[in-house]
């Protein structure tokens, strides 16, 4: 009786269930991943090197965990129609890692560069999301901005994007000027465009 066999042989049990698990994993995960990888490598060979600012912005997007609340996966269903065309495998080629996401606490960002290309909107939204979308629950990212009097901002590298806010967010006379990090992050968001 097979069960009696395993009841007295722990090593045999480990070897057999380990082998079964590995074989099933091979069929369901490793082999499909390997075959998809061949296509990914072929596509990557044709891709230009990313702009350094966009690449830094993507690294910040990862570090801040934006992908936990914003998906980058448009499914082939009417529910996802507002976010663009359905995502195909080639969209993820060269992304390390791709960020399809598991939740939409905020909207999908696969095509946000087309939907919201404004630098200024993105900066103000990043400084305080409630200033642009009152219902938003996104965290503010004030640490990617320098707050200074408006007169000082003129001389700043990114003074062009100095933003004033409602008095409940920022005292009158002061402006929030994006740092290089904020510029990189928004450059990445603007680059999220479906082809």
């Amino acid at each position: 009786m097979i069960n009696h066999f395993f009841h007295t042989r722990p090593v045999a049990l480990v070897v057999i269930v380990g082998a079964i698990f590995f074989a099933l994993s091979w069929v369901i995960a490793v082999r499909p991943a390997l075959s998809l990888r061949a296509e990914t490598l072929r596509l990557m060979a044709t891709q230009p090197a990313p702009d350094p600012s966009i690449a830094r912005g993507r690294a910040l997007y990862i570090a801040e965990g934006c992908g936990y609340c914003h998906s980058q996966l448009v499914r082939a269903t009417f529910v996802d129609a507002p976010y663009g065309r359905a995502t195909v495998a080639a969209d993820y080629a060269g992304q390390r890692p791709p960020m399809p996401g598991t939740q939409r606490t905020g909207p999908d960002l696969s095509d946000v560069g087309t939907r919201q290309p404004s630098w200024m909107w993105q900066f103000m939204h990043l400084y305080n999301p409630r200033s642009m979308v009152p219902q938003s629950v996104m965290p503010s990212f004030p640490w990617y901005f320098e707050v200074m009097p408006r007169a000082e901002a003129e001389a700043h590298e990114f003074g062009l994007y100095a933003a004033a806010f409602d008095a409940s967010i920022l005292a009158p006379g002061l402006v929030a000027v994006p740092t290089q990090e904020a510029v990189d992050l928004v450059a990445y968001l603007r680059a999220l465009k479906q082809e």
Binding site: G18, L24, G65, P97, P100, T102, P139
Partner: protein
Amino acid sequence: MQQPLNQDGTPSVIYAYILSAALWLFLGSLYGVILAAKLWAPEFLGVELLSFGRIRPVHTSTILLGWLTLVNMGLGYLVVFRSARRPLWSVDLAWAGLILANIALVSGTVSLHLGITRGPLEYREWVLPIAAVMAPAVLCNGANVLMTLIHRRVEEMYISNWFILGSYIWLPILYVIAYIPIFDHGVETLVIQGYYMHDVLGLWFTPMAIGITYWSLPRLLHKPIYSYSLGVLAFWANLVFYTMLGAHHFVLGPLPWWLVSTAAMLGIGMMIPVWSTVFNFTLTMKGSWALMRREPASWFILAGTCTYGLASLQGSFQGLRDFSQLIHFTHYTVAHAHWAAYGFASFLAFGAVYALLPRLTEVMERAALRRAIKWHFWLSLSGIAIYFVSLTIAGTIQGLRWGEGLPFVASLEGIAPYMLVRLIGGSLMAASHVIFLWVVWRLRPAAFIRPAFARPGASAPVQPAE
């Protein structure tokens, strides 16, 4: 249980696992409460190190890799050495596993706060050097469990040990595949992500919880399990069905359709192992209701068993296309994940700790602690119930409003009040963990025996305590 078992340091190291797990549970649920508060009041604790996206993976990794992993390792050791009727093969190896796991957990927590992460890849966010500390911890414990069972002092290996041994061979394979560097870019990441994210639940947390309950429940009720064969059936069926259902996370996505269809189909097949286990446990309880009424540890096991059946049933249907397109990406899935990981896996762990720990450390003031355990039970149960119901409603609202084509903010407006209700539910669970920590502390062994490698000059065999 007779004599020498309690005198070589085996109970001490098992207790250290459970205490350590209880501390991570307390910490992890604090993170959970902070996260829930942020979804209700987004400017709460608005500092860089505590921003939502940074501590979200800290919450999941402290709860899953800290609390559930360590408590299952500790309870797994307990079941293995009791059922093998001998002390652990190596107490030092068990200590080494605990210390390595805690080093990985502390550095993982710090690194995620600092934004050092592999990306939003659930439960494998830790960068490779930290995962490389966690992996040997698992291997130490797996080897120790295997050696203890090889040198068992009974003829046959009890069914619990099948599940525990299996878990210890499946997790390392899974963890290595999850960290293969060639699969961390391109669409193949999704294949590996679906596989890892779900198999770590189904081939580590689930079989550990079930294996441990196959020991804790009969011990508590003083009678054998209802059917041995059902346990064996569930063991094999879980291995075949659960391994292959991960791709259901990407229904209607860019993965090959055969992969997703296979996943959805095998997800339905999960009813075989799930209901085998559920019926086996509940039929074991049948006839012992009077005893169970007096024994709050068994309440956790009853609630955990029921949740296992219901949450798994829910999960089977969530993988189907028509349903998934509306509820995927919503809070509905968050409710499901918490119901399963907490209502099922954590409840069975609580039950096993309360059933087995007093016997292990020989602290027999259980009557005095029973009141606290009852408080823990009702707080946990009402907490997870409030949490589950509020988020299920919130997720349904989100799915329906998206399906109607309303603007995204309409879904935010719809769910706002439920975020507060969920915060209340989460706070009740966190409060119950303070009680749990207190009870675990009260159940500490009278004489605590440290590992040999921490005691200078200790080469002689460990002396019996006192």
